[in-house]
Amino acid sequence: MTVTATPPVRRRKESVPGRLRALAGLSVLALALLLAAILAGAASTGSSLRTIGHEAGPQVLATAGLYRQMSEMDALMAETLLLGREYGPQQQADLTTYDQRRLEISEGLLRTYRLALDNPVEQRTVESLIEGLGRYERLAAHARLLDVQSGHTAGQPPDHVVRAYQQATDLMHRELLPQAYNLTLETGTIVRRAHDAERSATSLARVAVVGTGLLALGCLLALQIYLTRRFRRIFAPALVVATVLATAALVTGTALLDRQGQALTEAKRRGFDSVLTLTRARAISKSMYGDQSRYLLDRFRKDTYEHTFLDKSRTVAAVESTSLPDYQSKLRADFQGLLGGVTGRDRDRLFTVYQGFQQADARMRTLPAEAAIKFWDGELTQAYESYDKVLEELIRRHESDFERAIDGGDGALETLWRSIPAGLAAGALLILVGVLPRLREYR
C-alpha cells in the first residue's frame, strides 16, 4: 500500500495532456467508425436495391410476359384454324396480333439473355427457347397452309389440319411454355436471394451503426466529464455541439437504413411478389382461353383440353372439386390459389368477372358444335376480355407500387450520402476545437 501510494500521483500529473489526447483521438476514431458503418450499410443496401429495382426485378417481369405471349401465340393459331373462310378479316387481324406477339417474344428473349450473362444455365434455356420457337413456327405454318388449302367453313377443320396443329401445340405446351415458366421462377430466385442477403446486411449494419454510435457518444461523454473534473468547466460548448451532431448522425443513420430496408421489403412484398403472382395468373388464364378454342377445334382431345382447363382453373382460383361442372358450381368468393391473395374490393371485382368467365365456359360446353363456336366467338370472348382487363389493371397498380417503393429507397440513399458525412466531419472538427485550448495550457 505504502509503496504504491506515490507513483500514481506523479503519473497523473504527467498524463493529463496524454489522456486528453487519447480521449479526443478515441472520440474522433469512434466518429470515423460510425461513418464507416453507415456508409457500408448504405452501400450494401444500395446494391441490393439496384438488383431488385433495376436489374432482376424488371427481368422477372419480362420473363413472366414471355409465358403469356407464347400461350397467346398458340391460342391465336388455334383461333385462326377454327374460324374458317367466312371470317377472313378476323383471321387477318389474328395473324397481325400473332406477328406482334412474336416480335415481343424476340425482344423479351434478348433482354433476358442480356441480363443472364453470368448464369449459363439460364442462357442455355433462352437458347433452347429460340431454337424451339423456330420449330414451332415451322409446324404452325404447315398447319396454317393445310387449313387454307382445305377452305373449310367455321368449325372443326379437317382431321389432317388438326393433326398438324397438334404437333405445334404439343411442342408449345410440353417443351416451350415450361421453360419460359421456369425462367421466371429462376429470376424470382435471384431476387429472393438478393432480398434475403440485403435483410441480413441491413440488420448487421444497423447493429454496427448503433454500436459505433454509442461508442462515440460514450467517448464524448467521458471527454466532457474529464474536462469538467480536470479544468473545472461545466461545459465545453464545442464538445456539446459535437455530441449533438453524433447523436443526430446515429439517429438519422439508423432511421435512413431502416427506411431503406422498409422500402425494399415493401417493393418485394406489395409490389414485386404481387406483380409476379398476378402476371402468372394472367398468363395461365390466357392459356385457359386457348384451351377453350382447342376444345372446340380438336375432337380427338376434347377430354384432355377440358381437363387441362380444369387444372388451370384450380391453379388460378382453387376450389375443392371433383370435375369441371362441380368446380363451376362450387366456385365461391373465398377461393384460394394464385388469385387467393387478392383482398377487399379488388377481390369482389375479380370474382365477379372470373365467375362470369367460368359461367360462360359452362354454357359453351352444353351447346352443339356450331352454336358453341358462335358463342365462344361472341359472349365467351367478351367475358374473358373483361376478366383479363381487371387483372391487367390490378397488375399495373402493383407495378406502380413497386416503382414507388424503389424510388423511395433511392431517395433515402441520396439524403444519407449528402448529410451524414458532413455532420460527422464537423463533429470531429469540433472535438479538436474543444480540446486544443486545454492542451495548449500544458505547453
Binding site: E175, P178, G218, S323
Partner: protein, 267 residues
Amino acid sequence: MRKLLICLILLLTACGTARPPSLMDDDEVAVVAIRSDVPLISFKGPDGSYDGFNIDVAEDLLSRLGKRIRWLEITAGDQLTVLTDGRADLVFAHMSVTPERKKVIDFAGPYHIDFQDIAVRPADKDAVHDVRDLAGRKICLVRGTNIAQRIVEERRVKAIPVEAPDYNVCLDMIKNGTIDAISTNSQILAGLLTKPGVDLHLVGATFNEQRTSIGVRKGDVDGCEELNRAITEMYQDGTAHMLLDKWFGRSGIDLSVVAVPQFEGCS
C-alpha cells in the same frame, strides 16, 4: 473497452439469425427417403443395393449439389411424415403434387412428367383404346391412391372400382378375371409388367398428367431452388434422356419428347 466488447458481441449475434433447417446447410450427407418395392423405379437388387430410375435421378441431382446420400427405406404411408418429423431431407417416392400434400411439405421439381395409362389382358387389346373405353369395366382401386377416383369422378367415366390393398393384388385380380383393367402412372405400370408371370398389354392412353416430384421439408426454399437448378442441368446435358432410356426404353412408354418439366415453384 467494455463498450467495444459489447458492440462486437452484438455484431456477432446479428450474424446467426434463425432459419428453418435446409438441405443446403446440413453437412455433406443428405438423408434421402425411398421405397424399395417399385420395380424399375426404386427396388432392392439381388446384391442388396438399391437400384432404379428414382435412385439414379437422386444420385445425379445430389452429386450436382456436392452431397453424399444416406438412403432411408420407407413405405408409401411414410412419405410425408418422414419429412415433417425431420428424419429425412428429401423424399424420392414418385410422389405427385397435390394441394393436400402441399399443406405439409414443399415440392422440388417435378423431375419427370408422367401420364396415367391403362393395362389390360392381351385379349382386350382391341376393345380398350382410351379412358372412355373403361365404362362398364372393373378397374383396380388401390387404397390410399386417388387414381380410380380421377377416372370415375373427374372424367365422369362409369367404370366400376374394385378395392385392393396394393398393386400385387391387382395383378392377381386381373389374372383371375375379378377386374378388367389396372390404371396408374405409366412408369409404375411399366414396372409391374416386368414382374415374372405377368402378361398384360399397355394401352398407351396417356391422360391425366402426373407430376413426379421430390418432397422437401416445408420452408426449405434454398434446398428446393438448388434442386430445381440441378434438374434443369440434368435435362440440358442429356442425363435425363439417358436415364429415361435406360429404365423405360423398352417398356412401350412414349419417350419421343423429353423436356424439362414446368416446376412447381418453391415458396
